[in-house]
Amino acid sequence: MKKEKLYDRSSVSYKAKRLFKRNWSGWLLMLPGLLLFLFFVWAPLAQNVILSFNETKGFESVGFNNFDNYIRVFNDPMFTKALANTFKYILWSIIIGFLVPIFLGLLLSEVVHFKPFFRLGIYFPSIVSGIAVVIMWSYLFDPNPGAVLNQLLTALGIPVSQFLSNPSLTIPLIVVTMTWRGAGGTVLVYLSALQNIDNSQYEAARMDGAGALSRVLHVTLPHIMPTIRMLFILQIISVFQVFYEPLVMTSGGPDGASISLLLLSYRYAFESFDAGASAATGVILAVIIIILTVIYLRISMPKKDKVSNKWRRYAEKVKK
């Protein structure tokens, strides 16, 4: 402390030194993480934006070409399909991938018989590696009327299906496959959120004459809302990473009915050797994600849940 007085506190070098002294350890701690972000996220992202405005040969850019890549991409019918598919994937993954685990979690928390068995059984598919899951299901979805699932349908009196070869079923079936594997882990997360709910709140609601449905809506759901929000984001992120599922199950077909933007971007780069178009697709995908993120943040601005507070107050009353 004494030493510091020797310096002129207002001098630039003193300030810089102080700044460094106070912060160097923090900066040092930040460095490794930031370097990784730089290497894996920011630098590729920035280069991708640049690349998307350049003519490319192989992976190298050979000169600025304005919006040519974007124009070429937008004129490609496959891109239009991939763009539309992205929203189909989102829709179906909300309907199937997002809602089914919530539902199963609720049921699982209520069941008292064979609970451990149900829990393990539902979780079981999560231990199978992703590629094994999609290959297995693509064999199950054999469109031959004599194949296993169609035989099952016939036995149940349902007309046979072309499964993945039916363009309007392709995406839902791919989402089913992804959910089949992914739901188990999610269900367990919900289950523990549900088990964390303080029973006195249910008691309070019951005292107040709330029916079963109203208990679910006013006690259960508000309590697991933070978990629901977190898993919702994870679900949407996973949709943008859809890649090997259509690659293996349908190679993006029939006629682009299941191609995802990521798969298309990969195809441009590694099959058509068109890195510019691939970069442009990546940028467009990033823009979509940013727009969706903004929308999401707008909607989910933290609002205190009034209803659940009401029950909480009751709970306090009861305790007294």
């Binding site: 031959n144 009327p145 070869s165 190679s251 077909g253 006629d255 990969y266 590694f270 058509s272």
Partner: protein, 472 residues
């Protein structure tokens, strides 16, 4: 527990890094030649055969070290392999690929070395063109060629009364006047398919591939045979124009549509190469289009009875046009390899029996190949060799005959007509064209009731013109 875990992780990381460094440090002063066509480890008999060749080669050329570095060429991995300089010294590809590989500078010019060895002049002219650039420089060594034809399950065709049997129980593919009983037109394929569908449950006449560019590959041949002059035509200005929506191509696609609508072809819109022989092998279909170089696949993988196979020429759609798409497999050499490595790889081809040489080593190598095929109970049929020197052909054909284990009559019509039916693949961006055609076929197979063939091909055509041919 925690400490134990840390120790375990550290141990794993340590062992792995040691192993990987150990592998790097193997350098023994020898010239390393990595062989991309090294067989998959599951094919133990083939691996043994390669090991035999390797031994013989390394005995004669001790300065070389042959390393198996299997790379199964595919259009979507070559970019990654090449840009990361991970290509093996020599690997095999298809005749559609060399132009693209040359243009990107991934394969080495081997003209001078071939000249030195005296192999260049012995190469089949058509096959040489497929592996050469416009200036005539040569970038590859053809392994063999194939022509597309129609694969028949004779047992099924006999069952439904399409073909006959003679007194010895052999199938008769011709009537007494010598006219073929097997389908020679697409209309006849339809008729046979109808009979098959009537006679068997959940079984179809034909399988049409539709994914991974295989659909476009088969379709191109069909379109030619329906009267499409070419899928790429040279205009008056010398520039190539896309012609994917030619009347013949539309007819071919409509034929597929009708077959799908009537439930005569296998009802799947995402079939890759493995599927033609899967469906043949499990007797889901009676007929398929494939190259003569892959006839053994249903036998080796599905225990299909090799005596039930007949392979006949491609049918015609318009009654006159009758072509057999003629492609093949060349060996190409990484442009990152040194001249010495390439020389070693070329010499190794001789030890595999893939050169025009006729010395003892070459002959015994071909024989080892046949013996391996025999040991695997593969059907051994005639091969389309890339070398034209008489002494080589004489030996090769003699060995083919000596080792053959099938009735040559079942293949005779195909091989007899191949010379006049064969037609090389379209000149530019062939795989990309196949990909666009795949989409049209998938669309037809998935909505056979409503698909508009003309407009689907129009889309493919304009895409191909603007995204590919305009780049020329």
């Amino acid at each position: 527990m925690k400490k134990w875990l840390c120790a375990a992780v550290a141990a794993i990381v340590g062992v792995v890094s040691l192993l990987s460094f150990g592998a790097c440090g193997k350098g023994n002063g020898k010239i390393k030649v990595s062989i991309g066509m090294w067989p998959d480890p599951t094919l133990t008999k083939d691996v043994e055969m390669y090991q035999k060749w390797e031994e013989a080669f390394e005995r004669d050329y001790p300065q070389y070290d042959i390393v198996g570095d299997r790379y199964e060429y595919s259009a979507d991995t070559i970019m990654a392999k090449a840009t990361s300089k991970q290509l093996p010294t020599v690997f095999q590809t298809y005749f559609t690929e060399p132009q693209k590989l040359i243009e990107n500078g991934w394969v080495a010019d081997i003209t001078d070395q071939l000249n030195e060895l005296g192999w260049l002049d012995k190469m089949d002219v058509d096959m040489r063109a497929a592996v050469s650039d416009s200036a005539g420089r040569c970038y590859g060594v053809p392994r063999d060629g194939y022509g597309m034809g129609l694969f028949l399950n004779c047992a099924m065709l006999y069952d439904v009364g399409v073909i006959d049997k003679d007194a010895d129980g052999n199938y008769k593919l011709h009537d007494d006047e010598g006219n073929p009983l097997y389908p020679t037109t697409f209309d006849e394929i339809r008729e046979v398919s109808e009979r098959i569908v009537e006679s068997y449950d959940n079984t179809y006449g034909l399988v049409i591939l539709s994914a991974n560019n295989n659909g476009g590959w088969q379709f191109t041949n069909m379109a030619w045979n329906f009267g499409c002059a070419a899928m790429q035509v040279r205009g008056a200005d010398g520039k190539y124009k896309a012609n994917l929506n030619d009347a013949g191509a539309v007819k071919a696609l409509e034929w597929i549509q009708d077959m799908a609508n009537d439930g005569l072809i296998y009802p799947d819109a995402s079939l890759t190469y493995v599927d033609w022989y899967s469906k043949i092998g499990s007797k889901n279909v009676a007929m398929a289009f494939c190259g003569n170089d892959n006839i053994m696949m249903p036998v080796t993988t599905f225990n299909f009875n090799k005596d039930d196979i007949a392979f006949v020429p491609m049918p015609t759609g318009d009654g006159q046009s009758r072509y057999s798409l003629y492609g093949g497999t060349p060996f190409v050499f990484s442009s990152y390899a040194t001249e010495e490595q390439i020389k070693g790889a070329l010499l190794f081809l001789k030890y595999m029996g893939r050169s025009p040489e006729t010395d003892e080593i070459s002959v015994s190598a071909i024989e080892v190949g046949h013996q391996t095929a025999q040991a695997k109970a593969m059907p051994i049929i005639q091969t389309i060799r890339p070398w034209t020197n008489a002494e080589f052909l004489e030996i090769a054909n003699r060995l083919d005959k000596q080792y053959t284990n099938v009735n040559p009559y079942y293949y005779a019509d195909f091989f007899d007509s191949l010379e006049q039916m064969k037609r090389p693949e379209e000149p530019y961006y062939c795989q990309d064209m196949y990909k666009l055609l795949d989409n049209a076929i998938q669309n037809v197979l998935s909505n056979p009731g409503t698909a508009n063939c003309k407009s689907l091909l129009d889309t493919a055509n304009s895409q191909f013109q603007s995204n590919y041919l305009n780049k020329l």
